[in-house]
Symmetry: C2
Subunit: 172 residues, 2 copies
């Protein structure tokens, strides 16, 4: 029901899109309102100031991230496989929210802990499955690396296959 998305949700979508495509400097109230097809006044009805818009973005990431962690715990292929596969940016809602919040986090001095919290939760699940702190840590770093490359827009073909191959060597 993309057509029936609330204006509030469309504003958050637009904020994400501008953050991802053009960075935080470009994500002004004017630009976000225009991308969402509303006026600046319309935006400010839903989010009383820019801090509220940023908080809305972080809250969206938190909800998506917590759902993902539950899915990772339940993944039949195992948490490590699941984690690596999802770290390849697929343009999904979680990817987009992660990139957008990461860009905001660079400007604001540690105002929202969602990124740190999610990272810690993913690590816990990896460690519970693998039972090896060094391996769990390195799997997370590989995921971060794939995520970094996706954000930078670099084509990084074969990353997932290569990561899977190395993972199997380490487990075998």
């Amino acid at each position: 029901m993309a057509d029936t998305a609330s204006t509030r949700d469309r504003l958050l979508d637009a904020f994400e899109q501008v953050l991802i495509a053009h960075g935080s400097r470009a994500a002004t109230l004017d630009a976000v309102a225009a991308a969402a097809g509303v006026s600046k006044g319309g935006l400010l009805y839903h989010f009383k100031n820019k801090a509220a818009l940023e908080a809305g973005q972080h809250a969206r990431l938190r909800a998506l991230g917590e759902a993902d962690i539950a899915a990772m715990r339940a993944a039949p292929e195992g948490a490590a496989e699941y984690y690596l596969a999802e770290s390849v940016s697929s343009g999904g809602a979680l990817d987009r929210a992660l990139i957008a919040s990461a860009r905001l986090a660079e400007d604001a001095g540690e105002q929202d802990t969602v990124l740190d919290d999610l990272r810690a939760a993913w690590y816990d699940v990896l460690l519970a499955e693998l039972g090896d702190p060094a391996l769990a840590h390195v799997i997370q770093l590989i995921g971060d690396g794939m995520y970094y490359n996706a954000v930078a827009g670099s084509r990084d073909e074969g990353a997932l296959e290569h990561a899977r191959e190395i993972l199997s060597r380490l487990r075998g």
Copy 2:
């Protein structure tokens, strides 16, 4: 000779520092000039506009990066060890330049290729030493992951030790 650094260099130092500490949104001409201890007019004598200041930052990274690639080729401990050790943010000149340029790159749509160029060069050196595309690729992803955490401002204790341990398992 930090005391005898030229005003131009002090301005680039200040730009880096503000970018790293507070992000690109905070790195205004006023803030950079103040951090360097000069007036805005003084800054604009050395860099005629903001784009020139950003170009100066990217040029500084390119010079440091090319020197690093030469050092990596010559490293007695091997390129992979050298690469992982330097990927841990140590506050060195290269680290700082890398983080600063990465923050600028998010705002500007691929105007300077220095980050992509350096990444490709590092991969070439890793592959030449390791002779294994999957392993070279994964080592670079681990470095990217450590670098991503530095850009994001997270602390990530034990990353280097864990990466070294996994590397030795893979080589052994």
